[in-house]
Amino acid sequence: MLKFIGKRLLMLIPVLIGVSLIVFTLMQLSPGDPAMIILGAQAAPEDIAILRESMGLNDPLIVQFFRFLLGMFTLDFGTSYKDGMPVLTKLLEALPYTAELTFCAVLLALIIGIPAGIISATKQYSIFDRIASVLALIGFSTPNFWLSIMLILVFSVNLKWLPVSGTGSILHLVLPSIALGVQSAAVFTRMTRSSMLEVLNMDYIRTARAKGLSERVVILKHALKNALIPVITVVGLQIGLLFGGAILTETVFAWPGVGRLMIDSIRAKDTPVVQGGVIFTASIFVFINLLVDILYAYVDPRVKAQYKS
């Protein structure tokens, strides 16, 4: 098992180097001279030239890339062009907000999605199954930024139950979590349903039923354990996706997370923050997937056995 974890950790290095290379290339290609962005369009050409030299922007690209890569591995993403603050500080300030929002959204999605999927599978083709399937598909097809606006319209503007935007209390978290979590709830419902249906058709379930076990025990004790294994992968993927996809929800609800920081930075052409933000988010995504793989190997004896041999 340790060998497996070690191998997977080593495999992360080329992926992260690749992500840095892509991000570095994209940022190099983006329009605008960093020195001019910092000093403003009215700055004297000599001042711009001096700043370019001191920022190392006149160095060959390969040197700049290795400096950037070294910085990344030492968690030094540079400083913001806008306020001179270290990018890492800005990201770490925003991180708890995105993490909090993602956690609540995934929790909500799990609470709705998994029971709905189980009931749908055990009562296949029932009215519940049909309604849940249609709702899941609608949830899956609804853009979260539009859902956010609709939730604000109903619960904040008309009913005045919940705040329109901002942070501060648990009430502020309700609408953004629903808006962000609905698509994941739909994914979990569909995944749990199909995985459960597959398991319910297996021979060992027939054996369990033949032994005279109650349907409740068969489903909750025998079927669910195996049916949830593929769902774990999807949960991991969704956490990573929500972390990146929170950009739109955070923008609508003025939620001060990583996504909103990045959008503000893109608008202000604050390249170091955008660079750092993309790498930071991609790293979290990759690490979550690694954790899921490890957890997967842990809960599924077949995968564990594969790595033992």
Partner: protein
């Protein structure tokens, strides 16, 4: 040689015909297909359906609710919301289909080469795809549009590039599954070129997963493009793109909620119809499910 199963058994059923019969029985997929067709027709005949031009401003009727002249009301410039949604369907469908065509061709070539040649090329190409997959697609699309600038073509390129890895993976898996089949060995033995084998023998047999992924891909491409426009990074006003309309309407949510409700419902309907149809196609084309 294109369809080896049929060549060997001339009277065997055509798998595409089977899939069509199975699709016809799936009511949800048919509903999805009909709604999709409706939107495609609306997009094609927008000039005949829309009562006004997308950018005609009527300063006497600013932010008015639905009426006979303006079936879905007017916006802050007195433009007809219904007409803008009708014309907007052209943009959304165009972005969705072109972006997916771009990613299917690009991802298809990468996946086919990786799966067919295997070895080092496979490793390099798929690690590159892993790297692209590690960056959340909306972030990647934002970064690309940021460089290229906001325009229709650039949104298509950004959305297409960000969904290329999933096509590459699917095509690679499909190619790997038939790479060692006897009919491929036969084609190699009779001296067909590699390109001909991939084009004539491998790709036609991998079409089912590509078509399914493409249908579902159009849905997510439309969502991504609307998201980009909503953030102000996609198509710019006064373009009647649905995401841009939503973004403009957001400021007037208290006084004119129809400005955000109507484009949003249009996005949901198109994406939902694509997902319903895509789900039906997958069920019809997946031999495992048919068993």
């Amino acid at each position: 040689m294109k369809q080896p199963a049929n060549a060997a058994h001339p009277k065997a059923k055509n798998p595409w015909l089977d899939a069509w019969h199975s699709l016809k029985k799936n009511k949800m997929a048919l509903v999805g297909g009909c709604v999709l067709l409706f939107f495609i027709l609306v997009a094609i005949f927008a000039d005949f359906i829309a009562p006004h031009a997308a950018d005609t401003q009527d300063w006497m009727h600013i932010m008015e609710g639905p009426s006979r002249d303006y079936p879905l009301g007017t916006d802050s410039y007195g433009r007809c919301v219904f007409s803008r949604i009708v014309y907007g369907s052209r943009i959304s469908l165009l972005v969705g289909f072109v972006a997916v065509a771009f990613s299917a061709i690009g991802g298809g070539i990468i996946g086919a080469c990786a799966g067919y040649f295997r070895g080092r090329l496979d490793n390099v190409l798929m690690r590159l795809m892993d790297v692209l997959l590690a960056i959340p697609s909306i972030l990647l699309a934002i970064a690309i549009v940021n460089i290229l600038g906001p325009s229709l073509i650039n949104v298509m390129i950004a959305v297409g590039l960000s969904s290329m890895p999933s096509f590459a993976r699917i095509v690679r898996a499909a190619v790997l599954s038939i790479r060692d089949s006897e009919f491929i060995e036969a084609a190699v033995a009779i001296g067909d070129s590699t390109a001909a084998i991939i084009w004539h023998n491998i790709l036609p047999n991998c079409l089912a997963p590509i078509i399914v992924q493409a249908t579902l891909g159009v849905a997510s491409a439309i969502l991504s493009a609307a998201g980009l426009s909503f953030l102000g990074l996609g198509l710019q006003p006064p373009s009647p793109e649905w995401g841009a309309m939503l973004s403009e309407g957001r400021a007037y949510i208290y006084v004119a909620p129809w400005l955000t409700i109507c484009p949003g419902v249009s996005i949901v309907l198109v994406v939902l119809s694509l997902n319903l149809f895509g789900d039906g196609l997958r069920d019809a084309l997946d031999p495992k499910l048919k068993q």
